[in-house]
């Protein structure tokens, strides 16, 4: 049964680890992200409408558009959800049991960091997911990197914070300041068999352009290469550093300093920022379209 988009947006959390982790990025991209939750609330904030009949009409059109599979919104939502859940090492249930019982250090005894190669593939797969999902939502052809890069230059609010989280939580924290160069070199040296065993890649591989793993890897490499310049400039312009990130995260993840590899793994498991902000991006675009079409 298909998901009800209004319930998905209504159930977006107002707090918790994901929201706190994303808020910790506010220092670098001040005022960009407001955690917009609730379907009707999103309609009101995005369109500025207050008329109840209009809100109802916008909502109904948005629901109809989402439910039409050909429109690509369901696949985009699935991509944002899947890339997050596939990248986690442990089930969220296991994690939930431990939160609140242990300090971060106590918790760390039970997990092991990801090897650098797995972390690199995660970063590349998440980036390519953004390309594909964003293109599905906005109607840009999925393999059109040039159009995606133009759109990326205009990213704002939840889309921009998602990219900030990508470079921070999946780039700088686990791989260091030179993460983009390091990752690009690593991907270039990989063979299709290297990515085929990666959980994150396995989760979404059917949606990555390309007929086989070889061509999918080549699209991933091309995506990374094209966006590397944007990522490097973004990190430099916003002054994002490992120590800056740790200072902010340290506020709520006790004892995380000095345990960078573990922190990366911890964030991977517990922070579902792609799903959270991806749903918000999807809801915004869907509503923007609905209000225009009615």
């Amino acid at each position: 049964m298909s998901k009800k988009i209004y319930e998905v947006v209504d159930k977006l959390p107002k707090g918790g680890l994901t929201v706190r982790a994303l808020k910790s990025l506010d220092t670098f991209v001040p005022g960009q992200w407001d955690n917009l939750v609730g379907f009707d609330n999103t309609i009101k904030v995005v369109t500025g409408e207050t008329d109840e009949a209009m809100i109802q009409a916008i909502g109904e059109r948005a629901v109809a558009l989402f439910n039409d599979k050909k429109q690509g919104y369901q696949t985009a939502l699935w991509l944002y959800e899947t890339v997050d859940s596939a990248s986690g090492l442990l089930g969220t249930a296991a994690l939930a049991n431990r939160i609140g019982q242990d300090t971060f250090l106590g918790f760390l005894k039970n997990i092991s960091p990801k090897p650098e190669q797995a972390q690199t593939i995660d970063l590349a797969v998440k980036l390519v997911t953004e390309v594909v999902a964003f293109c599905k939502i906005s109607g840009i052809p999925g393999d059109s990197l040039g159009d995606f890069l133009t759109a990326l230059g205009d990213y704002s609010s939840e889309s921009l914070i998602r990219m900030a989280a990508l470079v921070s939580f999946d780039g700088i924290i686990p791989l260091g300041a030179e993460f983009s160069t390091k990752a690009l070199n690593a991907i270039k040296g990989m063979s299709p068999s290297d990515i085929e065993s990666n959980q994150t890649f396995k989760g979404i591989k059917n949606e990555i352009p390309g007929n086989d793993s070889k061509s999918k890897l080549s699209f991933m490499t091309e995506s990374f290469e094209s966006t590397k310049g944007w990522m490097d400039k973004f990190v430099a312009d916003k002054g994002i550093t490992q120590s800056g990130l740790l200072d902010n995260l340290g506020g709520f993840i006790e004892g995380s300093r000095g345990k960078l590899d573990y922190l990366g793994a911890f964030l991977d498991m517990s922070v579902k920022y792609y799903e959270h902000t991806g749903t918000q991006t999807l809801a915004r675009r869907l509503i923007e379209r609905a209000v225009a079409e009615i």
Binding site: M1, D68, S138, R285
Partner: protein, 220 residues
Amino acid sequence: MTLTRWLKRLAPLVLCFALLVTSCSSTPSRYDQVQKDTTGFRSPAAVDKKAEKGGTFNQFFPASQGDYQVIPYQEKKGFAEYKLKRGDTTVAMLTINDTISLPVAAEKYVDATELVSGYPSVGQGTTATGLLVNGRYQVKVLSRDSSFGKAERVDWLQKFDLQGLSQLQGKAVVRPKQPAATASPQSDAPVATDTVPAKPRFKLPKVQVPAPEPTLQPAG
């Protein structure tokens, strides 16, 4: 005593049962009906097969000008949208859509009393002004900033290449009545007489041809 003890034991069970029952049924929503109507076998598509490609509309959007930047935002079948920015602020969204997928959107123009560039125009809600070309293609400007009001929306509606859009060949979805008057603040917009695009090589939809007999104008 025994009864109290039994009640005490039963209370958690009753509570658990109540929670289970309530958690199984989700809260009713104002969107449940449309959800039901648009899912499942044989549910109607949200976008009509005959709808124009979104890409077709791109050429009719205004270009960036002065302090304003016009930036591509979305392009789906039957729909295209651009963002209108002044500096870093998004002041409005500019859109064109094919109402063949949602005829009710076109129907609101049937009794329109205002004209913009000769096309029937209506205000919708508190932030949108639209017009309808050829009884089918809806052009809208939607405010996103308080500095951008109705006058600005009407001004930007006129910057679209409406004449170019009117040359698309799609059949009309509705036939708007000849508007009786133009009301302010749109009264300075060109009136109905200029609606017919001059290029003869295209067959014009009947709805756009002005009535041959003079229409009644309000006195004064």
